[in-house]
């Protein structure tokens, strides 16, 4: 039997092989979107009839929808007919050495500390590496299997666990939820699936690394996590993308289902290519993430968002069951010409439901960051409680930060607290650090990490370290 270490080594090695370049011959569907294309995707994936129909239904609904215009971002509308909706690596080309990789990218990885050596230390982390649209590798499956935990690609889940997929897919984020969710429902090619059986505490962090790889390929992942009654899972999702010249559309859907007494902790570090210093290129990241909490269930979203050119994303919780708890911890960094409109929705439906929102925005350069949050208390949500803290930190004078808190209450017993601050990294703080021998870049990293501490503390240890470094890199050269 393989040791955990050698297994990880193999996985991380393959990550370098497949993860970071496009030197893979892809089996690619020509650009364009039509029923025909959807049938091809479904056929290529050898999907059952019900799945094909599900997609086509979504597509028909999608055709009647329009792109949302309310987020506080501007960008040229992506040409959906120019996108190729399916590509699968046909041949895994071995590379002689890392010399063939974009040195700038390697440099970033080095700074992030994701060296092979360090990855080896991440024992206890199972990874499901998604390259373009097909899962290349799933680890620790057997070990998880002993506990009845299913952790596999969405494609596999459709084949092997159709009853679970049928029962839950689209129940938290309906096909018609929004334009990009509908598009995703029609064309999603892969993603991750996770099921934790009743009463099982998943013994390790489940981790998926998504990577966008093929030029001009939109990525439409679909993630479904189901925590059955009284179970627990901590799920990590992180991503990096290679330097890119053209815009890449990314429209993922993530659905979490926490049944009675279950808990899901979902952590994301999002680091896609944000475009260059002049705002050229970069990923469009339009994501729908939502969780459903039944009785006494808890869903906790933690995100560190540093990447993408344009982002809109609102990981949300529907607190349906009594005593259920929703949490949202977010750090969103924008620099140069990045735009982000992100936040959360806490929908309180059940009695004694509780939610906490901690949002830390950091804007630098000419960027624009918005927090948009909705706290909704339904008529039957007796004694619902919410606490929101939304802070923004500005660096320089060229950036903009906005806060849009929405509160809708239909029950008088609700207690809602909202706090917001806006601050600037002061020259005083920098000088104070300088005077102690701490240079400017280090000083900014220190101050920013301190500011984000409440959120970073929510991340699993090794992720927190990576996130700290990422924050520092994202803000390099942004003061002066």
């Amino acid at each position: 039997m393989k040791t955990e270490e050698s297994y990880l080594e193999e996985v991380t090695a393959s990550e370098y092989k497949y993860g970071f370049y496009t030197n893979i011959e892809a089996d690619k569907v020509p650009p364009g979107l039509s029923e025909e294309v959807i049938r091809i995707i479904s056929a290529k994936k050898q999907e059952p009839e019900w799945m094909t129909e599900w997609r086509l239904d979504a597509y028909r609904k999608f055709q009647k929808m329009t792109e949302p215009k309310w987020p506080n971002v501007t960008y040229p509308e992506p040409d959906l007919q120019a996108i190729s909706y399916y590509s699968a690596p046909k041949k895994k080309k071995e590379l002689e050495s890392l010399d063939e990789v974009d040195p700038e990218l390697l440099d970033t990885f080095k700074k992030l500390g994701i060296s092979l050596e360090e990855q080896k230390r991440l024992t206890g982390v199972a990874m499901d590496v998604v390259v373009d649209s097909v899962s290349v590798k799933t680890t620790f499956k057997e070990k998880l299997g002993e506990l009845g935990i299913i952790f596999c690609s969405m494609s596999e889940a459709i084949q092997d666990h159709p009853e679970l997929v049928k029962k839950y897919l689209g129940t938290v984020v309906p096909k018609t939820d929004n334009f990009y969710a509908a598009l995703n429902s029609a064309v999603f090619t892969d993603g991750s699936f996770c099921y934790i059986p009743k009463g099982v505490r998943c013994p390790m962090e489940l981790s998926t690394y998504f990577r966008i790889n093929e030029a001009g390929t939109g990525q439409f992942e679909r993630t479904l996590v189901i925590a059955d009654e009284s179970s627990y899972v901590s799920y990590l999702e992180g991503c990096t993308a290679p330097m890119r010249d053209e815009n890449q559309l990314h429209a993922a859907v993530v659905e979490l289902v926490a049944l009675d007494d279950a808990e899901i902790k979902y952590s994301t570090v999002q680091n896609w290519y944000p475009g260059d210093k002049d705002g050229k290129g970069g990923v469009y990241n339009f994501v729908t993430k939502r969780g459903m909490c039944e009785r006494n269930a808890k869903i906790s979203w933690t995100q560190v968002e540093t990447g993408s050119a344009v982002t809109w994303k609102y990981p949300s919780c529907i607190l349906k069951g009594e005593n259920s708890v929703g949490e949202f911890y977010s750090v969103a960094v924008t620099n140069n010409y990045q735009q982000a409109d992100t936040g959360t929705k806490m929908i309180h439906l059940g009695k004694n439901t509780k939610s906490t929102i901690i949002s830390k925005g950091i804007c630098a350069g000419h960027s624009n960051g918005s927090y948009r949050g909705l706290v909704k208390i339904g008529p039957r949500a007796e004694n619902a409680r919410n606490f929101s803290q939304c802070d923004s930190l500005l660096m320089g004078n060229g950036c903009g930060s906005h806060t849009f808190p929405y509160i809708e209450t239909q029950n008088k017993s609700a207690k809602i607290e909202h706090e917001a601050t806006t601050s600037k990294i002061g020259e005083d703080q920098i000088f104070y650090c300088n005077q102690r021998g701490i240079g400017e870049e280090e000083a900014i990293a220190l101050i920013v990490n301190g500011y984000c501490k409440d959120v970073l503390n929510q991340l699993p240890m090794e992720f927190a370290v990576e996130a700290q470094k990422l924050l520092a890199i994202s803000l390099e050269g942004s003061v002066g």
Partner: protein, 250 residues
């Protein structure tokens, strides 16, 4: 060690320092006194390298090197420490983390290895007992919610950890009660050696009873208008500054 020669500085076009001369040798303690607004904090900021102040004339030599060519962090690496009159808050950054970063960044700049955690911990314990600081202090956010006295004590704690060659204490005594003053002064005295020097900026004779200066200078309207020994401080305490002002205004 430090030679300041005809130093002139301004901020926002307003001239503040108007020709300062000062020489500090290793092992010496200098006190700088003077009414509010005379430029004491400006002088310490300029020595420490705060960029908002523009040096319009003169020079500062530190151990044979022109300080004005160096950034604030580089001056710190050379061994210059400023205890701030108004220490700055950095939310979410613990005292420990801040000091650890300061020490290791300084060591890195000097081409030294990072300080092993156990060595640092031991050093922290020593200096904490010297300054009668308790453990809980270390995990608090830097200066956030600190009382005036805690802030000043924290400055001296950092000084003790960084072991500078030249320490400038800008009104470190303000905000300290008598006991705290004694503890801090005692700490400063323990850290004194024949190789380092201290510039104490204060309004009060009180501190100088504990940290005894070799020289006392009076700064007024951006100039040193009088220098003397520790007796000058006593005289100022008794007579105030007015008798010195007259000479300048004339």
């Amino acid at each position: 060690m430090l030679k300041i020669n005809n130093l002139q500085a301004e901020i926002e076009g307003k001239s503040i320092l108007k020709g300062i001369d000062l020489e500090v040798k290793p092992g010496e303690v200098h006190a700088i006194m003077g009414p509010n607004g005379s430029g004491k904090s400006t002088l310490s900021s300029v020595i420490a390298g705060r960029e908002e102040y523009e040096v319009t004339g003169g020079n500062i030599d530190f151990e044979g090197e022109d300080l004005l060519d160096l950034g604030a962090d580089e001056r710190a690496h050379k061994g210059i420490f400023l205890s701030f009159q108004y220490p700055v808050e950095i939310p979410g950054v613990t005292v420990t983390n801040f000091i650890k970063t300061a020490i290791n960044e300084t060591r890195k700049a000097r081409g030294q290895e990072t300080m092993p955690a156990n060595v640092m911990l031991k050093m922290m314990r020593e200096k904490m007992s010297l300054l009668e600081i308790d453990n809980a202090f270390l995990s608090r956010s830097l200066n956030e919610g600190f009382s005036g006295g805690e802030k000043k004590r924290n400055e001296i704690f950092q000084m003790a950890m960084l072991e500078p060659k030249l320490a400038i204490l800008d009104e470190t005594d303000s905000g300290l009660d008598i006991d705290a003053l004694r503890i801090v002064a005692n700490g400063v005295n323990k850290l004194k050696s024949k190789n380092n020097a201290v510039i104490v900026i204060t309004h009060y004779q009180r501190l100088l009873e504990h940290i005894v200066p070799d020289y006392v200078h009076v700064l007024y309207k951006g100039k040193i208008v009088k220098s003397g020994t520790k007796d000058l401080a006593l005289e100022l305490e008794a007579k105030g500054y007015d008798w010195l002002k007259e000479g300048v205004e004339a």
